[in-house]
Symmetry: C2
Subunit: 263 residues, 2 copies
């Protein structure tokens, strides 16, 4: 079972769009996939048309409900553990709980259902919810919009991953960076990708969780259909299966299927 | 003195871009402006070329330093109180502090310097830092990218503002919504703006802080120069003063100068 967290504390870089469409693409390839919405905004849930007010990841983390009570089947091979707006209070509600960063790991360890992939959508933050994701996965995917601010926060994300690897989860590795919202006709896009390449090469071979992190060959192009499909509660594959967005996420899923972190 | 918070918990909608360029536009109109960077990502500071590691808003909130010790002059009429990556721990460090949501209000009350405008850039969250902003300002501007997820979170933002108005700051009002990253050639852009208009009209005349909230006439068009200027540490006005981005933010500043919440 591969467990992958989709994380970047920078806001609006395509985390939710990537988590939902990658999960749907892998399910379309015949993999059994569980998408976990760990963002109090509950956008991955909304993207798949799931309304709020039902059992959610909030009940699992804060009220210790078994995760299968919150899990819904969305499609063939595709399952979702929805989020809830009450999750926003988790940072404060869990502040005093022993091992508060390990609640999701325990919930998944107690779950008997077997999946090929668990994909976790995270909030734009490195707080207790994102730490729960980092503490239970083996692989981290970083969606990154090739703009100036993108590189600015990467150091902090790597530093936090290093702390989690040392204290909570020695197996966690950064699988790679996915360039999203890519506009091939802008100079800025290409410049940031070049800077990113240099940034990653600097740490190759070192004993750090991002030593093998690479930029995925597949770039997700800006494509308005990816922004339209959430309003219909659908993934890109059931909304516009032949558009650039669908093509890019299928290619990304294939690239991820082949590439696995050598644990 | 007008105090304005730039807030939306949705990530990547142009909060920082709006805070920096609106502050610079108002300063260019001869107003004395202080920009406060309340986001641990410290992107407003980076946007203006201010490096980290100096006295910051962290020292003001967590170590009670006077705000003028952290304030820097950036340009004629434009000042900045920078942020710091340590601010990310504020949610936990301030959890037990009495009146933790009122620390910024107290720091500003103790500041003798007089400004025409205070503009506060917030993180993509409704946690303790954003509550500090809401508790000390009179007006809230909501940058909003006209995509599906935009409307999804507005209810929560309004609800939180209502709680702050009731318990911490009866004067706070939502001044309006600024449509950002606008692409006139997409159907989605126009549809969301129409939905937003209906959403705001529903609450007109009621006794709520958003009763008078309107959509600003000025829409900020997508314009790659707005994404390029942060890499040079400049506002759009010193980077590309005649581009669409500069034109839009000047128009927005003029619209805000005229429109004031009737307190
Ligand atoms: N490749 C793309 N082309 C066009 N629009 C996109 C693309 N990827 C994402 N979007 C749109 O851009 C916005 C931001 O994407 P998304 O919400 O997935 O980012 P996020 O990182 O999850 O944001 P947050 O930080 O708020 O969680 C959304 O409105 C989404 O529909
Ligand atoms: N009108 C615009 N045209 C083109 N690019 C823009 C525009 N406004 C913002 N951007 C770019 O889009 C990205 C998101 O904007 P910005 O960082 O200001 O949003 P934010 O809401 O402050 O994000 P966060 O939630 O992470 O704080 C940035 O890379 C910025 O340069
Ligand atoms: Mg998201
Ligand atoms: Mg910002």
């Amino acid at each position: 079972m591969r467990k992958i967290a989709i994380l970047n504390q920078k806001g609006g870089v395509g985390k939710t769009t990537t988590a939902v469409n990658l999960a749907a693409a892998l399910a379309g390839m015949g993999k059994k996939v569980c998408l976990i919405d760990l963002d109090p905004q509950a956008h991955a849930s909304a993207h798949l048309g799931v309304s709020l007010g039902i059992t959610s990841i909030y009940d699992v983390l804060v009220q210790s409900k078994p995760i299968e009570q919150a899990r819904l089947q969305i499609d063939n091979n595709l399952y979702l553990v929805p989020s809830d707006i009450n999750l926003a209070a988790a940072e404060v509600e869990l502040a005093g709980v022993v091992g508060r960063e390990l609640l999701l790991r325990d919930a998944l360890d107690n779950d008997s259902e077997d999946f090929d992939y668990i994909v976790i959508d995270c909030a734009p933050s490195l707080g207790v919810l994102s730490l729960n994701a980092l503490a239970c996965v083996h692989e981290i995917l970083i969606p990154l919009q090739p703009h100036y601010f993108a590189l600015h926060g990467l150091g902090k994300l790597f530093e936090t991953t290093g702390l989690v690897a040392r204290r909570l989860n020695s197996a966690v590795k950064i699988l790679g960076v996915i360039v999203t919202l890519f506009e091939a006709n802008t100079k800025l896009g290409h410049e940031v990708v070049t800077d990113l390449q240099e940034f990653l090469e600097k740490s190759q071979g070192q004993n750090v969780p991002w030593a093998n992190a690479k930029i995925f060959q597949t770039k997700i192009r800006r494509n308005i259909k990816l922004a339209e499909c959430p309003s219909y509660g659908k993934s890109i594959f059931s909304y516009a299966p032949s558009c650039n967005g669908a093509e890019d996420y299928i290619k990304l899923a294939q690239e991820i299927e082949i590439k696995q972190v050598s644990l």
